[in-house]
Symmetry: D2
Subunit: 111 residues, 4 copies
């Protein structure tokens, strides 16, 4: 079985054991995703690139981000694998290799 | 093959075709994840729960979130499936069913 | 004296007593602003509009947001009062009253 | 007159000319603050500290952050100057000079 589908089943079971679906409007799930992403970001705050970070906490905060992302995907019945594959194809059009190779510019700044 | 691993391989290939690894410090990837999460959140801004949202845009912004998340997981060689399974077990301890059933309180507010 | 200038002086003094300027790159200050904004947002998570929120915590998180914002303004020698006045004028062009009255649409969706 | 109060009056007037108060629940204002903070953050994405950033855009995004912050302050009748002064006093207790001088550690990591 798909391991994404397996994770989706697990987060839905976790939610349903606690009767949390009533709070999980898509708006709140999107908020939750932003909040968890900020907690991950905080692990890098005030640090130089070469400073060590706590890998275990990164792993946990990333899992929290995915928890919200999977609940949101499930709410909209989004096939996560297909969504990423399709978006890569679309982004490839905005960032063609010849214009974006070795460049950190946003596509709106391409000349 | 695992479909998460398949996605990881695709996002890494996308990055490497464009020689973007040089910009993708973990700190910048964590920033990117927060920024993409905010773009997803914006789709719900000023809207009542019952107002329609653009599903296709949600699907795309969610894919962008996952793009950054997968690059970060790959950087730290995090097994995404295992990370989520482990975190659910840990969160289950903070939110035991008897204390959290039907409750929207944070675990720090449990009595 | 301007009370914005007074606050700027206080946050700079707070920073300098602790020798924190060395960590406060503008990139890190912008990260900090996002992180504090997410902590404020978390106070509303999973809550219906009519549910009570903790006013004192909102006041504190809002102050944290302003702390980062004022340090960033100071770094770039931005006159905060003038910046807001100028931006309101610019936003008024994107959102003219006749097109935006009573509407929650983004200007890109105006017909 | 206080220049913070002057800005508050201007953002409220801007809102009321457009009849936007109906959309501006505190929850949505907090979302808006996070979203604007992320737009500011994006200006630093993928950039090394020494790379130039567009000052004018920073000034504008910072103004957008303050727009949301001031509307939120106004909603809760928060005296912004006093809130920041009070929070600095509280943060000074968490970060006493002797423990935090020249340190980028979070107070929870102080020994």
């Amino acid at each position: 079985m798909s391991d994404i589908k397996d994770l989706e089943r697990r987060v839905l079971a976790f939610r349903d054991e606690r009767a949390w679906a009533q709070f999980h409007t898509p708006k709140d799930l999107a908020m939750s995703l932003s909040i968890e992403a900020a907690e991950l970001l905080e692990l890098f705050l005030w640090k130089k690139p070469e400073e060590p970070v706590d890998h275990e906490r990164i792993r946990e905060e990333l899992a929290d981000v995915l928890f919200s992302a999977l609940l949101l995907a499930s709410h909209y019945q989004i096939d996560v694998h297909k969504a990423v594959v399709d978006k890569l194809a679309k982004t490839a059009e905005k960032y063609p290799v010849d214009k974006s190779y070795g460049s950190n510019k946003k596509y709106t700044e391409h000349t």
